[in-house]
Amino acid sequence: MRNRVKGSMLGAVVAGAAVSAVIAVTVTRTAGQVQATRPARTVDDKPNFSGIWQALNEAHWDLEAHEARSGMVMQEGVYPFEFAQVPAAPVLALGAAAGVPGSIGVVQEDGVIPYTPEAAVIKQENNENWIDRDPELKCYLPGIPRAMYMPYPFQIVQSTNKIHMAYAFTSTARTIHLDTVEGPPDYTYMGHSVGRWEDDTLVVDVTDFNGKNWFDRAGNFHSEALRLEERFTLMSPDAIHYEVTITDPNVFTRPWRISMPLYRRLEPNMQLLEYRCIEFAEEFLYGHLRKEPLVTRWEGETIIVDITRKIPAGDALYDWYRK
């Protein structure tokens, strides 16, 4: 910690000399009563995005506005209405922890993603077949912009001609090139990011996608024609206004925009821990190919989930029922 403090204080001093005018410096009190300074600008007089960040919203569930629901996976209840559905087997045993929080949405203007009629049909099918189709569940590389608002932290390491973003989810990363580089030799999951400064906004063009990613768990998707223009602007030293213009003529009738704040993780000892989900997804992906399956009921490639919920001995509510 002390070294970090020293490094950033040096940064603050140099930046201070360079732009003697207005410099917002946040002060954090760490456990050891050391005052850590986090300069709002870098030594080359750019907004300082370095640090660990995380979206704090429901965009990873659905970019569009949605109401809360009782289960990540739903099935028809006793009424035929969609609003009266109940949680389905894969999540039933998780009770109220299996629900999905509501959201006002992050899609700008009219709040609706402008799908072509053909693409709208695919989106609906994606939604209905979420657990079979979503690449996140298989631990595939999440792509951009999805990696930016998944419920995991990510770290920005801001240098002068490269800005690196390291994501906890599957330990993936992207480098934003502020200098001239050749594009990738093949289409990619994470895209090819080329950045530039427009005053105090970092603008990043992302191209060369392979079209295999989704935007969220609601089945919103794109093709390999996807192009992004991301804009990062500091709202305060601890919040970034993150905005993306999304263009994909194969799927959408016009460019559209999402926008959200990204928040700095302010814990003094915050660090990026790994989430190596390749291993986490093995049972899901290959469990049906085991000689002796661990899940008791596979029918071909389909998991038939039998749920056993045990009532713990001494549970006050159930003891009361039994009277």
Binding site: V43, Q155, V157, T172, T188, L273, E274
Partner: protein
């Protein structure tokens, strides 16, 4: 899309060829490869004053981990290097110049290697290990030897009734040809990170086949070598590892003297804490997961890495490994890296082995099909087949990228 891949492979091949030629010239032209203590003024610095380790770095020369038997010097002479290159280029050490009997299983296994392996010119160092002075990995502790013996006996038992042992091939790992072992239906004596000769489930296959071979420490990087992308900001160093053919990963090193994570929090890539000692970045790595393995060392591994610039285009990483449950003393490995030009951006940022892993499910499906066929009297006993890499010319398990 296909054309693009083919074209880019062509370009890559060309670049590799040019790079190899260039390094070769440099290597033979300038003898000063020895680690010279970098002068402070010579160390490139970031605009905020820290030593600058940034860029794309790769290993350009072939240096074995251990010094070969009979070699007593730390460096070869230029004449020896030239002679070794000549022998390697004509002899059987260049695996991709040797072809097994056409149509044989070994031929097919080798075909993959021939396309994907890269060969580098011989380096002047006779081995990467600089301590102990004999250039060898220190002897194992009695405890580690016993564990290793148990693992080998188990692995050998699963091979003893295969064609590999019947025909006395290298892959038999010293076993004898016998009838099927009852051990085949028991779990390995220790959590396995290598291929064992069965595919009852994903855990029977190596971390490489499961797309999880990109681990620390990484001295070989697999057939395709090692490429790093280092980016720094004040107080943080991040390294993207392009290793193991799409099994790369990203590592973030905070520069801090905060204590390590709680002892019960374990990570595949451990917990890294960096500090600057002069112009050297010293990284202390602990908290490794027991699910990974480096030459028998698992959760008790402690690595101290020392990263420093040795010139405008060179970087040196010296790693000291310590695990008193495995080795009788700590040992130290040196790796020399060469800087790659920025504009071509030749590093593969996408660790997407997993997204294209048809091999693992294919092996599991195939094994289930063989079991069904055998049960119906339609095929050989699957236990007599070797599916642990035994058929490759290099012997068993060449894909274990450790």
């Amino acid at each position: 899309m296909h054309d693009r891949i083919v074209r880019s492979l062509g370009v890559t091949a060309l670049i590799v060829l040019v790079l190899i030629t260039m390094t070769h010239v440099t290597q033979t032209g300038t003898p000063a490869v020895q680690a010279v203590q970098a002068q402070d003024a010579a160390t490139p610095r970031t605009p905020w004053g820290e030593p600058d380790l940034q860029g794309i770095w790769s290993v350009e020369l072939l240096v074995p981990l251990e010094r070969p038997d009979g070699t007593i010097t730390e460096f070869y002479t230029e004449e020896q290097v030239a002679e070794l290159d000549r022998i390697r280029a004509t002899g059987s050490v260049f695996g991709n110049h040797v072809r097994a009997e056409r149509g044989s299983e070994a031929d097919v296994a080798g075909a993959y290697n021939a396309v994907f392996t890269s060969q580098r010119p011989t380096g002047r160092r006779t081995g990467m290990i600089i301590d102990p002075p004999d250039g060898k990995v220190p002897p194992l502790t009695a405890e580690a030897r016993a564990r290793q013996t148990e693992i080998f006996e188990y692995e050998a038992a699963l091979l003893q009734n295969t064609v590999v042992c019947r025909d006395d091939l290298d892959g038999c790992i010293g076993g004898t040809y016998e009838s099927r072992s009852p051990l085949r239906d028991e779990q390995p004596p220790h959590y396995s990170t290598r291929n064992i000769n069965r595919a009852y489930g994903p855990e029977d296959r190596s971390l490489g086949e499961r797309c999880m071979s990109g681990n620390l420490p990484n001295f070989r990087g697999g057939f395709a070598g090692i490429h790093y992308r280092v980016v720094q900001s004040p107080g943080t160093v991040t390294i993207f590892y392009d290793v193991g053919q799409g099994q790369g990963f990203n590592r973030v090193i905070p520069i801090t003297d905060d204590p390590h994570l709680p002892a019960h929090v374990r990570q595949w890539w451990g917990d890294s804490r960096g500090r600057w000692e002069g112009d050297t970045l010293v990284i202390d790595v602990t908290n490794f997961s027991p699910k990974r393995d480096f030459r028998g060392s698992r959760e008790n591994l402690h690595v101290v890495e020392r990263w420093r610039r040795t010139g405008s285009e060179t970087l040196e990483v010296v790693s000291t490994l310590e695990d008193s449950t495995v080795w009788t003393r700590p040992w130290t490995v040196i790796q020399d890296f060469a800087r790659q030009p920025e504009e071509p951006n030749r590093i593969y940022y996408e660790p997407r082995c997993h997204e294209g892993n048809y091999g693992l499910p294919g092996l599991l499906v195939g094994s289930r099909a063989e079991e069904r066929a055998f049960a119906e009297g339609q095929g050989p006993d699957p236990a007599t087949r070797c599916i642990a890499g035994c058929a490759s010319p290099e012997g068993r398990d060449p894909l274990a990228l450790r």
